[in-house]
């Protein structure tokens, strides 16, 4: 019974993956991302004394940006086809539960995003090897943390576009949350400021604890600052943090999808 359920979830995921990797817009985006990362090598050559930081900075910034754009576009493409083109009608009248379908779609988008991230990080690491930067294993931790951040983003974007009455609204809200998640560290400073009113402090504290804190997944800066590796305990902690947020957002998304009329 459980095997059948899993098989259906992976069938949906495989379908999403196949559809996305063949989509022209995503292919162009991917090539563009690789070209920009490749261009980082040139910038590195033009920045004497940077000792590889330019290459890694530009490389990782591009990986995060294009990882985010990939997941956003994949979700847009898949959801647009499902809802506007009604492709979901035929799938959901087959013996698959809406929760399985939703999870399958989530896994499919995670596959697409991780695949893109893996190729981009391979390129960054290859370029590091080719240049004077060399390869440092702690950079794998940077990519791992980045992937966790992107997986959380997929879960809330999927939840938002399911709850929203139309696709653009869902994507706008998801992008705002992504942005807010990158600014939550700054909220701490505002909360600590004695001039901030009590009401504002309460609201900001609520936001601080309910919005995913993406600064936790930015290991790049941590490595630069500490010039040392990352503790495995920290990686475990952020993995748990990501799992909790994913679970909450997926639960909300599934509940909304189960009630959604198509």
């Amino acid at each position: 019974m459980e095997n059948k359920k899993l098989s259906k979830i992976f069938a949906v995921a495989q379908n999403v993956l196949n559809e996305c990797v063949r989509h022209k817009i995503l292919n162009i985006l991917f090539i563009f991302a690789l070209a920009l990362i490749g261009g980082a090598l040139l910038i590195e050559e033009l920045s004497p004394g940077a000792q590889g930081r330019t290459l890694l900075n530009v490389g990782y910034a591009n990986m995060e940006l294009f990882g985010f754009l990939t997941l956003l576009l994949s979700l847009f493409i898949i959801t647009f086809e499902e809802i506007e083109m009604r492709t979901v009608w035929l799938s959901l009248t087959k013996p698959v539960s809406r929760s399985s379908y939703f999870i399958g779609k989530f896994i499919g988008i995670v596959f697409v995003t991780l695949l893109t991230l893996a190729v981009m990080s391979l390129l960054v690491m290859s370029l590091s090897l080719l240049s004077k930067v060399g390869l440092n294993l702690s950079y794998l931790a940077v990519v791992y943390a980045m992937a966790l951040g992107l997986i959380i983003t997929i879960s809330f974007t999927l939840a938002f576009i399911t709850i929203a009455t139309n696709l653009p609204t869902g994507l706008i809200f998801a992008s705002l949350l992504f942005l807010l998640g990158h600014l939550t560290e700054h909220l701490k400073v505002i909360i600590a400021n004695p001039e901030t009113s009590v009401a504002a402090k309460l609201v900001l504290t609520f936001v601080y604890y309910t919005v995913p804190n993406f600064a936790l997944f930015n290991l790049k800066d941590k490595i630069y600052m500490q010039e040392s590796g990352i503790e495995p305990a920290y990686l475990l902690l952020i993995t748990l943090y990501a799992l909790v947020f994913c679970f909450i957002f997926l639960y909300i998304g599934i509940k909304a999808f189960e009630k959604k009329e198509l």
Partner: protein
Amino acid sequence: MTAIEAQNLVKTYVSGHFWNRKKTTALCGINLKIKEKQVFGLLGLNGAGKTTFIKTLVGLVFPTSGKVSILGKAAGHTEIRKDIAYLPEMPYFPRYLTPEEILLFYARLYELPAGSRKEKVFAALNEVGLFEKKKVQLKEFSKGMLQRVGIAQLLLNDARVFFLDEPTYGLDPLSAKQMRDIILSLKKAGKTIFLNTHQMGEIKQICDRIGILNNGRLIDEVEVKKITGSLETYFIRKVLADGK
């Protein structure tokens, strides 16, 4: 045995924002029983509620009140979907997949054994004349060809109840005849068929009973053989008498 049953089925759509909610009743208290192995045709003007009714039966939308059941189980139940097949009006598929891939995906959802999936998919593609195009991406397909892929997916799971919404929509005369032949062969095989169509000839040729839906109400239900004269005249007379 009753294959399809609707009891006091009401469906109301709510649209607009929370400060400007608008309610539209698409189905008002429909009661209908369709026996197993029967072919039932639902007739109605555009906007009468035919598609909403079929979508409620297959579980894509939920009743506001009332009950809907298929083969004795609540419509929309995952298990019951093993026994049904649905063809929407103008089916769409993921554009970058091929007919073979999408049908294999559906076969997997239907829990067909891995060993026989390909065989079943190829047989269905052969039936609708698309075997040679099995590796062509669906974005290259015309409306009629997509409709044929839609027909092929109907044949995968040996369903007991078929829901067909305008099955000959967008088909050329030859393909439309092939579609009618497929429906007739399903009828011969003892399948229950629920058919939404505007084609009176199709109804006369295929259906055992018809229902007329007008403004969300089922205003008439009759056996096709009891209709004397033209079905079109009968339909128009009923709708006009109900007050369009």
